[in-house]
Amino acid sequence: MTVLQRDHPHRHDQPVIELDGVSVAYRGQPALEDLSLKVYCGERIAVIGPNGAGKTTLFKAVLGLVPLSSGRIRLFGGEVKRGCMRVGYVPQREAVNWDFPITVAEVVMMGRYGRLGWLRQPTAADWAAVQDALAQVEMGAFAGRQIGQLSAGQQQRVFIARALAQEAEVLLLDEPFTGVDVTTQHTLFELIARFRRKGCAVLVATHDLNTVMGNFDRVLCLNRRAIAYGPPDEVFNTDVLSETYGSQLVVLPAELTRLVVDDAHGHFG
């Protein structure tokens, strides 16, 4: 398709993720509408939008966890199916039971489960892969800790290590910056950049518009449907943002890089 070539003049390879007119509905309520999207190798994508915009639903659709009401998704050029070990997912903090009696190493080992097969227990090589993944996120010293004893940033790093142990090529991070300080944010961006060099593409759902500039190659503005998709400096303007966020957003016109979100749900409180 020639349009595609014009869109991505430097890319002749296949997209790693391709959504074509994807809609998802929960009990008749639309969560995603007619979303089309191509993600290429080497890209860091920010997915922004208000609560309920469909960010998590988009990730679940890519993972094959929710049925599509229309459209289709292709991963690495093939049909999406469950069991794509090439996609790693870091869930939202609220989706994890942090009181669960499980250690850091055991969480990371879950990345290997797809390879282990039924009734097989992890071998020494699997534990070595887990230690290696933890070392890459500088969490090697915490292997034996219960996960609830870690800081929010450390918890994110553990789940990134799980994706590394999984040998995932695409990483989906759902609200990784919630509850982490600026230093930790910086560390996470370094990890994301490193993952991209090692793997392929990274998608990050985020509320925090301040971090998008400079840290991402493209941004998807989502509010059930795609409002805009492109490089941050091209996409970010008052019209797009107010359409994405509705009345929740206050843009300080002086500097587009400083955006303040007035979140009705008190996410930033």
Binding site: M85, V87, Y89, N97, D99, F100, L119, P122
Partner: protein, 275 residues
């Protein structure tokens, strides 16, 4: 003191009762650990009540109570899964409907027998001192199967309990695993019914596991502590029942609850006195 401990063991019914209660306590505590971690206590309760019609039908037709209970448990497991998936009801409402309805059906069936109160009491509250050698064999067989499956699938159970979405994303059949676990739960309740009874079996599932949860943050230790608390409750409860001449199932459950309260007070991390 030794006489005090050994005297009850001279009687066959007490020996069988102790062996049955300990076996059931261990199986319940281990399965219950996963029930507690998955937040499924209500489902366990529902299942325990809802197998009553199966037991009643077996009882009336002279069939095997274990088989009747298990078939009913299977039906309930799939009914809960199906209703919560298809209907517009939240899962807890679906469970509420299924379990009370099935329980009422069971009571209704048993009430067709004259003088049914004794039978009903044995089914609801257990009759561990009336365990026959044949019952004991059934408990050992079913309990053994459950333990083997728990051990063989420990990796999958951990994944199901902690992060089923990750499991699904990896392509593992988490729905099937969930149903499999419900079947294990049904089997566990079926053998628990024979000792502490239908209604109190939930306590044997939840209380030792909840006690262990207060005391450790490692899964392996939680399983061991739960099994220990369950076993101790069974032994202490049965001796109390023997010497105080009180209902055995209730004595076991009250003992387990006492252990829970002690843990709640003294737990180093979450105990009320530690704060």
């Amino acid at each position: 003191m030794m006489d005090w401990l050994l005297l009850p063991l001279q009687q066959g019914f007490m020996q069988r009762g102790l062996v049955a209660a300990v076996m059931v306590a261990i199986v319940c505590s281990l399965v219950g650990t996963y029930v507690v971690l998955r937040g499924m206590s209500f489902i366990g309760d529902a299942m325990a009540h809802a197998i009553l019609p199966g037991v009643a039908a077996a009882f009336l037709s002279g069939g095997n109570l274990f088989v009747g209970a298990f078939l009913a448990g299977l039906f309930v497991a799939f009914a809960i899964g199906l209703i919560s998936r298809t209907a517009r009801l939240r899962e807890d409402a679906a469970i509420g409907v299924v379990f009370v309805g099935a329980f009422a059906l069971g009571v209704l069936l048993i009430s067709t027998v004259r003088g049914y109160t004794v039978d009903l009491a044995h089914i609801l509250f257990g009759n561990v001192l009336g365990v026959s050698p044949e019952d004991l064999a059934w408990i050992a067989l079913v309990g053994g199967v459950v333990l083997v499956l728990l051990f063989a699938f420990r990796k999958e159970l951990l994944l199901l309990s902690f992060d089923p979405a990750h499991g699904s994303a990896l392509g593992l059949p988490m729905d099937a695993l969930n149903y499999g676990f419900l079947v294990l739960l049904a089997l566990t309740i079926v053998i628990a019914m024979r000792t502490v009874g239908n209604i109190l079996s939930v306590a044997m599932l939840i209380t030792p596991a909840a006690t262990a949860y207060l005391l450790t943050d490692r899964l392996r230790r939680m399983l061991l502590i739960a099994a220990g608390v369950g076993t101790a409750s069974a032994l202490v409860g049965l001796y109390l029942s023997y010497y105080l001449n009180v209902a055995s199932g209730a004595a076991i459950v009250v003992t387990a609850t006492a252990f829970f309260l002690i843990a709640l007070l003294l737990s180093p991390r979450s105990g009320l006195l530690a704060r």
